[in-house]
């Protein structure tokens, strides 16, 4: 019963109001007049919605050296103790596939003997090809089969360390941080004030569009905030705006699937896509300490 009442109340709040039917220009005029009234304030702190926009990992992690060794060890044990492979079951006698199979076996036998002989062979055996970068062996591909193209795990963006690129650090989660036109505490997550007619998610969505452009395919993860940060404005700022003494930021989680940030050059002048560890180099230490628990290691 309570849930129904709640839903009805929220539905009423979100109904298209008379205000929005007025033209865009007169809307903004009215808004400027009511500037002090439209923002959510609590106990002198401005309520702000922050956005933790993440690009989740695109490729699987590189295996740990111990993992690699362990899997090799287990594979060797399996090979030694496995029953003989029933060639006649899988390959028809006298077929082309059977011939190819036997040739491959001969090659592997020769390579295996080499591996036990000298450890410094350039050509890795089939045993050691498990977790490495896949490259198509030219001898495996016949003329009639199509060559499968595989993209490299380490991209050009990785090599030049382009922080604006979303192709960098494909194994890690990248977070968007923006630069504000001031000297201290310039790098932070995009954020903006919550208005009295909207919810946290709506405010977050609007602020992200205003600050970073709308050319991004973004999805917000639910309506709950994932983190909270309260800070006081520096004393010089407080003298101008007597009504606010600081801000309470509620961070909303979001994912990006396509597109890129477009700086508006008014509120933000620069942006970067960084991992959790790299963020320390951009963001103020106090901010980082408050924010790091929300972020993923990988």
């Amino acid at each position: 019963m309570f849930l129904q009442k709640l839903r009805y109340r929220i539905f009423k709040q979100n109904k298209i109001s008379f205000f929005s039917s007025i033209s865009q220009k007169s809307q903004s005029d009215i808004l400027n007049l009511l500037k002090s009234d439209k923002n959510e304030v609590h106990e002198g702190y401005r309520i702000v919605a922050g956005i933790v926009l993440s690009r989740t990992p695109i490729i699987l992690r590189d295996p740990h050296p111990f993992e690699r060794e362990y899997y090799l060890y287990q594979q060797r044990l399996e090979h030694i103790h496995a029953p003989p492979f029933p060639v006649d079951f899988y390959f028809k006698k006298g077929s082309v596939a059977e011939k190819k199979w036997r040739e491959k076996k001969e090659r592997e036998k020769a390579e295996a003997l080499l591996a036990f002989g000298s450890r410094k062979t350039k050509n890795k055996t089939s045993f050691e090809k498990i977790d490495e970068e896949e490259t198509i062996d030219s001898s495996d591909v016949s003329s009639d089969e199509e060559e499968i193209k595989i993209a490299n795990r380490i991209t050009s963006a990785d090599l030049i360390n382009d922080v604006k690129s979303l192709d960098r650090a494909l194994q890690r989660t990248l977070y968007l941080i923006v630069k504000k036109p001031r000297e201290t505490h310039s790098w932070q997550f995009p954020q903006g004030g919550v208005e009295k007619t909207e919810t946290l998610v709506q405010a977050a969505n609007r602020e992200l569009e205003e600050e970073c452009g709308n050319c991004m395919d973004v999805w917000f993860v639910g309506r709950r905030p994932i983190g909270y940060y309260k800070y006081d404005y520096p004393k010089c700022f407080v003298k101008e705006n007597i009504e606010y003494k600081g801000a309470k930021v509620f961070f909303m989680a979001a994912h990006i699937f396509a597109g890129q940030v477009k700086v508006d050059n008014k509120e933000i002048i620069d942006f970067a896509w960084v991992t959790k560890q790299e963020m320390k180099n951009y963001v103020h230490t106090e901010y980082y300490e408050a924010v790091k628990d929300m972020l993923s290691e990988h």
Binding site: I58, N205, R206, C215, R224, A258
Partner: protein
């Protein structure tokens, strides 16, 4: 409960049996799979039988004392490695949850409007189709930087004030999933 054997046919059981046997077409024995007189050149069934019944059992590896000690050390190290990984993951999740909890408790202090609107969830939880799991290698075309929003016309002001981004974000424009579709009709219902 109807008794299936209560009716009487025009023909008697014996006559029906004779008729059935004359009509039935029997396969030659060589075509019945698995029979001993099956086609000698068709070795597939023999191969299958051999693999199923005559493969040697995989015995446990025979290890010397040194080998065994080595194997057990490796096993213990692996288990420890996995345990450490698991602990790291758990700690990360615990920290994330702590932050989430703290944020929501603080939000509650601000009043009912913001808090209540944050706590409601969708009846049917849906995730966007673009949310893909990691693969071995990245896509060939790399990241799509040329994303354009659906309604890119700025002059059209038909859209109202920013509505709920969660409800509005359809997985992909081509296949909008409708959760208001009627359920399949009740089989117990009498169809009109």
């Amino acid at each position: 409960m109807s008794n299936h054997f209560s009716y009487r046919s025009a023909l008697s059981t014996s006559i029906r049996g004779i008729l059935a046997r004359t009509v039935k077409k029997s396969k030659p024995k060589s075509e019945i799979p698995g029979s001993q007189n099956a086609n000698i050149t068709d070795t597939r069934y023999q191969i299958i039988k051999r693999i199923l019944y005559e493969t040697p059992k995989t015995e446990l590896p025979k290890m010397t004392e040194q080998d065994l000690e080595r194997h057990e050390t490796i096993d213990r190290a692996w288990k420890l490695f996995l345990r450490n990984q698991q602990e790291e993951r758990e700690n990360e999740l615990a920290a994330k949850y702590r932050k989430l909890n703290e944020a929501n408790l603080e939000l509650e202090k601000l009043g009912p409007r913001l808090f209540n609107s944050a706590q409601i969830g969708n009846k049917i939880m849906m995730f966007p189709r673009q949310m893909k799991i990691p693969t071995e290698t990245p896509p060939l075309n790399g990241w799509n930087y040329d994303y354009k929003p659906l309604s890119s016309d700025p002059t059209k002001n038909s859209k109202p004030l920013p509505s709920d981004p969660i409800k509005d974000s359809e997985p992909l424009p081509s296949n909008p999933i409708k959760d208001s579709e009627p359920l399949p009709s009740d089989p117990n219902k009498v169809s009109s």
